[in-house]
Symmetry: C2
Subunit: 358 residues, 2 copies
Amino acid sequence: SSTKRVAVLEGDGIGPEIMSVTLTVLEEVSRYYDFLLKFEKAPFGGAAIDEVGDPFPPETQKLCLESDSVLLACIGGYKWDNLPRKQRPETGLLGLRKTLQLFANLRPAKVFDRLMDASSLKPEVLKGVDLVVVRELTGDVYFGEPKGISFQNSKRIGYNNMIYSEDEVERIGRVAFEVARLRNRRLCSVDKSNVLDVSQLWREVIVSLSKEYPDVELSHMYVDNAAMQLIRNPRQFDTIVTGNLFGDILSDEASMLVGSLGMLPSASLGNPNSPGVFEPVHGSAPDIAGQDKANPLACILSAAMMLKYQFQLNEASIAMERAVHRVLEKGYRTSDIMSSGKTLVGCKEMGEKVLEQL
Amino acid sequence: SSTKRVAVLEGDGIGPEIMSVTLTVLEEVSRYYDFLLKFEKAPFGGAAIDEVGDPFPPETQKLCLESDSVLLACIGGYKWDNLPRKQRPETGLLGLRKTLQLFANLRPAKVFDRLMDASSLKPEVLKGVDLVVVRELTGDVYFGEPKGISFQNSKRIGYNNMIYSEDEVERIGRVAFEVARLRNRRLCSVDKSNVLDVSQLWREVIVSLSKEYPDVELSHMYVDNAAMQLIRNPRQFDTIVTGNLFGDILSDEASMLVGSLGMLPSASLGNPNSPGVFEPVHGSAPDIAGQDKANPLACILSAAMMLKYQFQLNEASIAMERAVHRVLEKGYRTSDIMSSGKTLVGCKEMGEKVLEQL
Ligand SMILES: CC(C)[C@H](C(=O)O)[C@@H](O)C(=O)O
Ligand SMILES: CC(C)[C@H](C(=O)O)[C@@H](O)C(=O)O
């Protein structure tokens, strides 16, 4: 099989440590399952700001566009928080999404029985929770124009346009229906159509698209209610589809069900055959960077998502996931998911344990 | 003391039952504390749609504007869900907010020890939680123009303008700083200023306003993180201030901490001396309407907020709150908050128990 080029963006904070462990795991998996990956690193986020003054420099853009896939660790840190927005790490992330047209963000929240104690929710509420949030990622109030800060009657006003075209809704809707088909065939579309015109269009498009997916059960929920139901009874959800802003909020909320951000992977997908971006949900944790304390599992699970969604290497992907589960079963924990009676390990050692289980 | 005119909007579903109990309690309290209330009812929401085809008819508008305060039960129901947005109960609610210029919505979420079991969060996370969300209520993407659904390159687009002026932010900011002063002097402002221009203005205005409140400790949080932190560690919050849309989502999420919507009051305030609206957070529960099963406590607590915020009748307000707490201590529960070993009561009986405790 031909070599797959993977752009590797280590980013900031704990990024380099967790990425290094993840690449070791990927290499081992590629030997077993007989495929070839070529890793090429490039600066991104705060690191790139420090190096060249741009969170997503042209050479990194070029590398990403030429690669078959992008693996990203995490970006950001206090250090860059007070720069103007254009020079902030997050702006690099938004640029990456736009450049690669990553319109679909998939964030699974699957409760690991072994980690249920780490959540602030009761075990009986969490047991069996297995949902995925499909978030639109290149539209909505994140990118809508007009936007800015200007003057009206000599007072400042700030504004952003919350906007979707029917094409954008249909495109993310299709991804969501397809994802639901591979799961339990239940799709909940979240909007605020009792107030917003943009949500009314969203709902109309999803409803008419649903005729092509008669095997998927479609429901609708207002975003405020969804924020409640995710806590009240998260098991009711299978696949959730929503816009960029609501998805930002709800997927972070859903991540709390799992107890630790350190376990949550994500995939951001564009058009078929164009490179997707695979990254853990957690941030760059500057406070513990360089101390070999970070949890590499979310980054490893993101790499597993890459094998599945980008390269259709299902078996290899499942093998990686299974190795992660076994390591948890054996009681190994990084400090973020530590509980009494378990064995505390560092970032590198956690990687070795995963390798052992492969 | 002069008679205070209270416009009473029973609304839909369980509205009439819980309002009737609440008015009885208010009457009793007014006898003890020697003030006079005059209740005047008017149709609102679905009931008004059925009667006159308008969820907020002119005569109801007139009554509200002429009153000293408005007490609202709850509105909406499946029956009106598929009407065009202009004729929906929610549109009446938005109209009421706009007409009375109710720019500040206060939603306390205080955990009752006796009801902690009803929450899906663990007791150790909930213990001592006592926060209030101050939500801006007349601006943001709820009312921003331009908005609509139109055509662009022969495709439909839907759009709403997320917009704030510095005056609007300052006005709600002041309310929030004042509220924080009456509490633990910690204010967390929630925005999405890493992405949105409107949030950047929001943050700038709040920061410069904070110079007038050096005794209040101000912090900032992104909305996605706030959605997580409310679950991870809700005790960290005292007073939260945020925009209309984020407030809609976060206050509903926060309400889940308390376990039952049946316990949550709210106050919506406009300019000093203009009538505010006091209403429970829960909906109209059409499925149990007319069966004497509804929980009137949130409506009673909303009336208590009216005494405090509208009429500065602090003692009477505290007496009402205390009566509610005592009833819970004695083990009386409506079905929504029932747990084993407690005494199940209906809506009317719950009202009688509150009267006994006054
Ligand atoms: C960092 C920020 C721009 C980003 C977003 O809001 O999309 C983040 O919260 C996320 O969810 O990936
Ligand atoms: C019914 C709806 C218009 C309303 C809102 O979104 O403001 C409700 O959710 C609320 O929070 O009072």
